[in-house]
């Protein structure tokens, strides 16, 4: 164990979270309090709090800490059919409380499993992680929110514009940034022979014919690049070309 006797006491707090996925029917039973073992969430909450207090018995090099607060919260997430568990641990002391928060989340998830396993054995525990940590010498930490992908435009083909000899003649289409979100399309291949004419205008017409959403390509300012070079409606296309549609650029 690290000797913490010389460390300054400070107010420390850690928040950890985790998730247990289950069948939608299991989640419905849990929400309605109809599981055979009784009140699932209350039991898991007590289990999480007890676990936080017993962390040093489980994790070899952890100090025994006089926690001033342990709070466990649950959020039932219907869209992903899961229960999100979060634990907050607080202390005035010389060492951090993230292990206590992580242990509390882990044991609360395990207890949720135990309480529901009679009706669902497929449950999955995951995404157990530290969300934030304050106080102490190493400074504050906050998990960065995962946002939309940074790079959506990476070519799937090493050499855009070069057709694969064996494949059906195809044009590869990418929608980037706001246009991708507006149209709900990221990547798409379209057979070359469906193009009304072998240029961008012909490609747009073919796309609109397959899905009316692509009418958005003619709304507002939409730019395009053929094989990563800016183009326009009259830019000719050949088999294997990579065509990207995107909104006006806003870098710098």
């Amino acid at each position: 164990m690290v000797d913490v006797a010389d460390k300054v006491e400070s107010q420390r707090e850690a928040v950890a979270s985790g998730r247990i996925r289950m069948h939608p029917e299991t989640l419905a039973l849990l929400a309605d309090g109809e599981l055979p073992k009784g009140d699932v969430l209350a039991t898991a909450r007590i289990a999480g709090i007890q676990a936080a207090k017993r962390t040093p018995e489980l994790i070899p090099l952890c100090h025994a800490l006089p926690l001033s607060k342990v709070a466990i919260e649950f959020r039932l997430d219907e869209p992903s059919s899961s229960v999100e568990v979060s634990a907050t641990c607080r202390l005035n002391g010389r060492t951090g409380v993230e292990m206590e928060a992580l242990t509390a989340v882990s044991v609360a998830c395990l207890t949720l499993y135990d309480m529901c396993k009679a009706v669902d054995k497929d449950m999955e525990i995951g995404e157990i992680r530290l969300e934030s940590k304050t106080g102490g010498k190493s400074g504050d930490y906050r998990r960065q929110a995962v946002s939309s992908p940074i790079v959506t435009g990476a070519s799937r083909h090493a050499d855009p514009g070069l057709a694969l000899a064996t494949a059906e003649p195809t044009v590869h289409i990418k929608c980037l940034a706001e246009l991708r979100e507006r149209l709900g399309v990221s990547d798409l291949d379209i057979p070359f022979d469906t193009l009304e004419s072998a240029d961008i205008a012909g490609l747009k017409a073919a796309l609109i014919a397959t899905d009316a959403r692509f009418a958005g390509l003619n709304e507002g300012r939409v730019l395009c690049a053929v094989n990563q070079v800016m183009g326009g409606d009259q830019t000719p296309l050949t088999d294997g070309d990579e065509v990207a549609f995107f909104p006006p650029v806003t870098g710098g």
């Binding site: 946002s147 940074i150 435009g153 070519s155 990563q228 070079v229 909104p247 006006p248 650029v249 806003t250």
Partner: protein, 153 residues
Amino acid sequence: MIRVQQKAFDAGAEQQALLQGRSDIGAVVSFTGLVRDFNERPDVRALTLEHYAGMTERALEAIVEDAESRWSLQGVRLIHRVGCLEPGDPIVLVVVASAHRRSAFEACDFIMDYLKTRAPFWKKEHTASGNYWVAERSSDHQDAARWEEECNN
């Protein structure tokens, strides 16, 4: 030298690297663009920069080559960041070295004007009142058009 990267850069170190071992450079101009905490809406908390990998590098190279054909330059460093950034973070760095100050000032200005209108980067701002994609500005196009007028004269 052109780089597109997620991690932060050190403008001072980049400028030093450009000047290392050179005694023919008479002027160096450095521009750093930063994330503001207000833009189309107040209270911008973060910003996500997306780009079109592959085309981005080509577009930036073309802009630097254009600058080198217009002015006599002795070195250019261009770094643009992508990913999640917070207010105060540096986004873009342009360092231009030349024998004389005028070329360095003008080329740096030109590279930024063209980058803003020609390089495939897109900003999404995250604010207290929601997230939105940043719209293009007509002033950026007017700024870029200055260089075409001057070219025609």
